[in-house]
């Protein structure tokens, strides 16, 4: 009976009600859309990292620190015997790094040579293109960012200069076998992939590696000798930190939007209680306790949010569906950042995320409606 009265009252309020509902439903749909974009970005970034860069864990040489360019050249060790079987059954694949300089059209560019097994299947790097370079030419595959920097296309020759393990310079031309398109910048910008055997021979680092990429099937979950195991939490920590910071940003934006929307509910409630003194008196005269009257007004305020969610579903569902199909086109500079973003983000709406938005809006509306209504007692 209380619910029916509350609904009848707010529908009777006319434009004031629909204004509140419109603002709240806008905030609700916006929250769902934003969360959808965020969830989609995270899903893309994680998939991209697994497929192109991190695999499902890595084993690092104890000297390897990807953020210390001054020690990279010393970050290599012989492959331990304990890992030979895993390499043969392709549950792990070794990668060797060496700093070098690329010369193209009279310009120089610092690069990182990455040696990879042409037969590996763990990463999506098109390493099979590196096979069969026994003619003497060193084949290389590079990402589109590196290709842009070097202004190189498949079939082009690029002169590279590097140092062997003793520090002696060497220089040769490599031929770009293919250019791949990846969202992950860490394996693209400034990186040139060549066959592992070639790099080992060029640097005189026979049988050595800098790190191993583990496949999903790999059972390695601990250090092997001097090789340090890095789990996904560690390898993706930058991504998680960025996600955390984005979450904080979204909380701030939602708070501002909700405050604006809920202010109108609060305002409506305060005004109602002030204007409907006679009505409140009548309810009490008819035998309603003040607590029930408070509950009625709180219910009225909460009903705005329920109506807003219903309205949100009505106009928001087709909009969100359309948005998920067309996606949010990103400027080119975003994909250059290499945060695992595609050219466009196609929102993914998670039920948990929608439910959280609903609960948040309803609970806050209830609270904001109760604050002025409690004075009736």
């Amino acid at each position: 009976m209380l619910i029916r009265t509350a609904i009848k009252n707010i529908l009777g309020a006319g434009r004031r009600t629909w204004l509140n509902v419109a603002v709240l439903s806008f905030v609700f749909v916006l929250m769902v859309a934003y969360n959808g974009i965020f969830d989609s970005f995270m899903k893309d970034a994680l998939t991209s990292a697994h497929e192109w860069d991190t695999g499902y864990g890595q084993l690092w040489s104890e000297h390897y620190d990807p953020y210390d360019v001054f020690t990279l050249q010393d970050a290599h060790e012989p492959v331990p015997e304990a890992l030979n079987q895993s390499i043969i059954d392709q549950s792990i694949t070794p990668v060797l790094l060496s700093q070098a300089t690329a010369y193209q059209n009279g310009n120089m560019q610092n690069i990182l040579l990455r040696g990879i097994d042409p037969e590996q299947q763990i990463l999506k790097i098109p390493s099979h293109q590196l096979a069969g370079d026994e003619t003497g030419t060193i084949k290389a595959v590079i990402g589109k960012r590196m290709a842009n920097t070097l202004k190189a296309r498949p079939g082009d020759n690029v002169l590279i200069r590097w140092r062997d393990r003793h520090g002696a310079f060497d220089a040769r031309e490599i031929v770009i076998a293919s250019v791949f398109d990846s969202n992950t910048a860490t394996i693209d910008a400034g990186q040139v992939w060549i066959s592992l055997d070639n790099l080992r021979q060029m640097t005189q680092m026979t049988g050595e590696a800098t790190y191993f990429v583990l496949s999903k099937q790999s059972r390695i979950k601990q250090d092997i000798g001097t090789w340090v195991y890095k789990d996904m939490d560690f390898l993706l920590s930058d991504l998680y930190l960025m996600a955390q910071s984005s979450r904080i940003e979204s909380v701030i934006i939602f708070t501002i939007l909700l405050v604006v929307a809920l202010l109108s509910v609060f305002d409506t409630q305060t005004l109602s209680i002030f204007r409907r003194q006679k009505e409140i008196g009548t309810y009490v005269a008819l035998g309603m306790t003040p607590q029930r009257v408070t509950r009625l007004f709180t219910l009225e305020g909460t009903s705005y949010s329920i109506l807003a969610i219903l309205a949100g579903f009505i106009w928001g569902a087709p909009f969100l569906y359309w948005f998920s199909k067309t996606g949010l086109k990103l400027p080119e500079s975003y994909s250059e950042m290499g945060l695992g973003m595609r050219d466009a983000i196609y929102p993914v709406y998670q039920p948990a995320s929608i439910l959280t938005s609903i609960i948040l809006i309803v609970a806050l509306s209830m609270l904001i409606s109760y604050i002025p209504a409690r004075k009736i007692i």
């Binding site: 001054f70 020690t71 990279l72 050249q73 010393d74 700093q99 300089t101 010369y103 009279g106 310009n107 120089m108 002169l159 200069r161 140092r163 062997d164 003793h166 520090g167 002696a168 310079f169 060497d170 220089a171 040769r172």
Partner: protein, 244 residues
Amino acid sequence: MRKLIVLLFIIAFTVSVSAQDAEQIIQEVDKNISAKSQIAESTMTVPGKRNSRTMTAKSYTIGDEKSFTEYLSPPREKGTKMLKLDKEMWVYSPSTDRTIMISGHMLRQSVMGSDLSYEDMMEDRKLTEMYTPSLAGEETIEGRKCYVITLTAKVNDVAYHSQKMWVDTERFVPLKQELYAKSGQLLKQIRLSDIKRIQNRWFPMKMVYQDMLKDGKGTEYNITHIEFDKDIPANVFSKASLKQ
């Protein structure tokens, strides 16, 4: 048969004589270039895209183990000091009042945007210690008759696997050097000129380093004053002198 043996003998003798000659030439070059100690004032000009930068410096060197350099100009670099002890190097920057250590692969970085790396500047080992020379012929460079010497590394830890050096036949000073990668690719060229007689040795006062793989005019290195085999106080080569 006898003719063949004589021919082989002559070839072997010629090769042996030429190797011996080349070794002697390089020893003479080392005598001119290397010294027990050096005190030098120099300018280094690095051409940029719009304008070039010129830096002046004073350096104190003992063999290939100890070296101390202080930059005197331009104002931005003034007071920057570098100390090299064995295979380590410290650079003091007055603007930050900090000393940083440069070691390992950091030594391969360019010095102030020039075509020289810290390693190039620090390298003062004798050629005879690093390379096996062979005489490849004679050519004329800027009117001076030169021996053309091919140097091939005999130790692993040299930056350039081979070199071609044009050595003045009278003064035993290199007038041109080409530095090659293991693959035979030409990497750097050094042109040496303005040869002066200083303390009983011939020494090039001007050197132009050019990275042959990139565009650019190269880095010009001029020595304005140099003294050899002078006693240098030990405290010059201490870390305390960086902040003085």
